[in-house]
């Protein structure tokens, strides 16, 4: 790093700071890996260097030390998926105050003044899309269940909220509410089989992330109700796409992480090089079913670049 007071503008040596850091919400999720791939590709194209530092879990207390640690290395810009829309404000502001450009990717904080650009997909919209897709799959009747991860996880809570809002518009669908799984597939499977016992008319399940989706698929399979009870998952990691292909899952709500990463780098570079950045960019969210999966294959997440 080149240190110094005014970083990123590169006036001193005329050389802009070509180091970018991406701080995803959690390490090792295909969603963020795809984002990383998009970002890395774009950074390479523009002649920049991108490193990644991710917390172990999707938690503000885990992400904060990473942000301050990254700040100490003084990169030109930070792309971050804040894990909490309030708790991350302060560390992110410290980054900004140190003269480092901040770009929010995927999620945002409530303080709009920190980042030069926000590139996000709306999880609540995703939840609504899931409700509509699931309603269609079950012929708009029967009981449906939401499997959430841990209470207080902003992204999955938003998905569940969107789903709940939209599903209530269908008069013949009974909404059984959401159950929390602590992000453990085993717990998800346990809940699904329990709900099958208690509600034989269970028609559909919306699983808000990868682990709940895998657990739900297993629970249904175990009960021999795969395909009969419709399952909508979130994200299109290779495993989930595989399940979609083999019928374990009936639909997926996918975001476009690669584009988020790509756009994020573009905006960060723009800011570093003194060009105006686009303050707000919304990216696509799509529902993928088995029928149209080939058409939508560009949305499938990647596991390596």
């Amino acid at each position: 790093a080149c240190g110094g007071g005014t970083i990123g503008e590169g006036p001193e040596g005329g050389q802009p700071n070509k180091n970018l850091v991406l701080i995803p919400g959690v390490k090792g999720e295909p969603f963020y890996i795809s984002m990383e791939c998009g970002a890395k590709k774009e950074a390479a194209k523009l002649g920049y260097q991108l490193t990644v530092q991710a917390p172990d879990r999707f938690e503000a207390s885990q992400q904060t030390p990473i942000v301050t640690g990254v700040l100490a290395t003084r990169p030109g810009a930070v792309l971050i998926a804040p894990t909490d829309d309030r708790a991350m404000i302060n560390p992110m502001r410290q980054v900004k105050d140190a003269g480092i450009h901040v770009v929010e990717v995927d999620t945002t904080v409530t303080d709009p003044s920190i980042s030069v650009s926000k590139i996000s997909s709306d999880n609540e919209v995703g939840g609504r899309k899931a409700a509509e897709t699931l309603a269609k799959l079950i012929g708009e009747r029967g009981s449906v269940l939401v499997l959430n991860t841990k209470a207080g996880t902003s992204t999955t809570d938003a998905r569940a909220r969107g789903f709940e809002e939209a599903i209530k518009r269908y008069p013949n669908i009974t909404y059984l509410g959401q159950e929390y799984t602590d992000n453990e597939p085993a717990r998800a499977a346990q809940i699904v089989s329990g709900k099958l016992s208690a509600h034989p008319d269970l028609a559909g399940v919306f699983a808000t992330n990868l682990n709940t989706g895998e657990g739900a698929a297993t629970g249904l399979r175990n009960a021999g109700r795969t395909g009969e009870v419709k399952l909508v998952g979130f994200d299109a990691s290779p495993k989930q796409v595989e399940e979609l292909r083999t019928g374990g899952v009936d639909a997926l709500i996918a975001q476009d992480p690669a584009v988020i990463g790509q756009q994020g780098v573009q905006q960060a570079v723009a800011a570093i090089e003194g060009r105006p950045a686009v303050p707000q960019i919304q990216t696509d969210l799509v529902a993928i079913t088995k029928e149209d999966m080939e058409k939508q294959s560009r949305y499938f997440y990647r596991t390596e670049c």
Binding site: G28, E29, Q190, A223
Partner: protein
């Protein structure tokens, strides 16, 4: 005080009143049952089952529900059985969940690698190799734990907290953090979801492991040494027991079982579920302690652990079926857990007081 008289001999009573016969009589089965540490916890389990059955006669006491209860507890049971051994040696193993993930990842990646990136249609040769590798990977972590605990004498909590982080990190490093996505269909259909006469195969595996572990712990020299070391490691050493080697073996055995659990998990979920085992360790420890095994070592039983695994499982299942509000569920589970152990302790103390 009354005037004392010098005593006079009244009877030539034998000076030794113990004899072999008096010492030998075995207690009756019923006596042994009631004084068994697991009796009262077992009653709690049965009580819970009955209560839920009465509350939801159509949904709870069904064959399907019984089967899924067993299946869903299988993986945890295998972990908890291993945990029982370590805790009896006065140790602990926080790494089981991560070792499970690591073993599953190793097996899945090798199976995938052998079939050019898609193991879905792999045959039994591949599956067997995956199985062996899974066990080996688990045992390797376990032995590493054991060496650090017994030879380097680092406290087990620190050692296994270390491998808890390191095994998960290694699994993520191998996979890039992404679940391996293809698992042989043959494996899933036989071990994962197969049944024979309504008995799920996954349950058979867990039952065989449990019976073997019970046999090992309660009837063999290996088991006896496990108790002796937990009871007084120095005494065990002085009695000529190779304490270091035995501890390494115990941790290795737990690792092996975690490896097996990883393979079962793979067969069941059809994926490695990398991020889904953060609390397996606490669940297994809770089951073990709930089953009457003392964290200070020397005391415990496999049967107790089985009961300890099923009490929370029955509770959670029952609450889902009853439709208890989600946030109430952990509260209720916690209350019942503490109450069950409290009840058990009270009974034991009363028994010791002879009432």
């Amino acid at each position: 005080m009354t005037e004392e008289r010098t005593g006079k001999a009244v009877a030539p009573a034998s000076t030794v009143d113990n004899n072999v016969d008096r010492m030998l009589p075995q207690r009756t089965l019923w006596q042994r049952l009631v004084t068994a540490n697991t009796f009262w916890t077992g009653l709690v389990l049965i009580g819970l089952y009955v209560v839920f059955s009465v509350l939801r006669p159509n949904a709870f006491p069904t064959l399907f529900n019984f089967q899924t209860l067993l299946i869903e507890a299988s993986v945890l049971l295998v972990l908890a059985v291993g945990m029982t051994f370590v805790i009896i040696t006065a140790g602990i193993d926080l790494s089981v969940g991560s070792v499970l993930v690591f073993s599953g990842v190793v097996a899945a990646m090798v199976m995938e690698g052998l079939h050019g990136g898609d193991a879905t249609h792999a045959g039994w040769g591949t599956i067997l190799l995956g199985f062996v590798l899974s066990l080996a990977a688990g045992a390797a972590w376990g032995l590493l734990n054991g060496v650090l605990v017994a030879v380097a004498r680092v406290p087990p909590l620190i050692v296994t907290l270390g491998s808890f982080g390191a095994a998960l990190g290694a699994a993520q490093l191998l996979t890039g953090g992404v679940d391996v996505r293809t698992v042989p269909t043959a494996l899933r259909n036989t071990i994962g979801f197969g049944q024979t006469m309504q008995i799920p195969h996954l349950v058979v595996v867990a039952a065989v492991v449990t019976l073997f572990a019970a046999w090992l712990l309660h009837t063999t020299r290996f088991g006896r040494y496990t108790y002796a070391i937990g009871s007084n490691a120095e005494a065990a050493r002085r009695a000529g027991i190779a304490v270091t080697r035995h501890l390494v073996m115990v941790y290795g055995f737990v690792g092996l079982l975690a490896g097996l659990a990883g393979f079962m998990n793979l067969a069941y979920f059809g994926t490695t579920t990398i991020s889904g085992h953060a609390t397996d360790n606490l669940n297994a420890i809770a089951a073990t302690v709930l089953g009457g095994t003392s964290l200070f070592g020397g005391v415990g039983s496999v049967l107790g652990t089985v009961i300890g695994v099923f009490i929370p499982a029955v509770l959670q299942k029952g609450f889902v079926i009853l439709g208890v509000q989600p946030f109430w569920q952990p509260i209720a589970v916690s209350i019942v857990l503490v109450a069950a152990v409290w009840f058990d302790q009270t009974r034991r103390r009363a028994r010791e007081r002879g009432r």
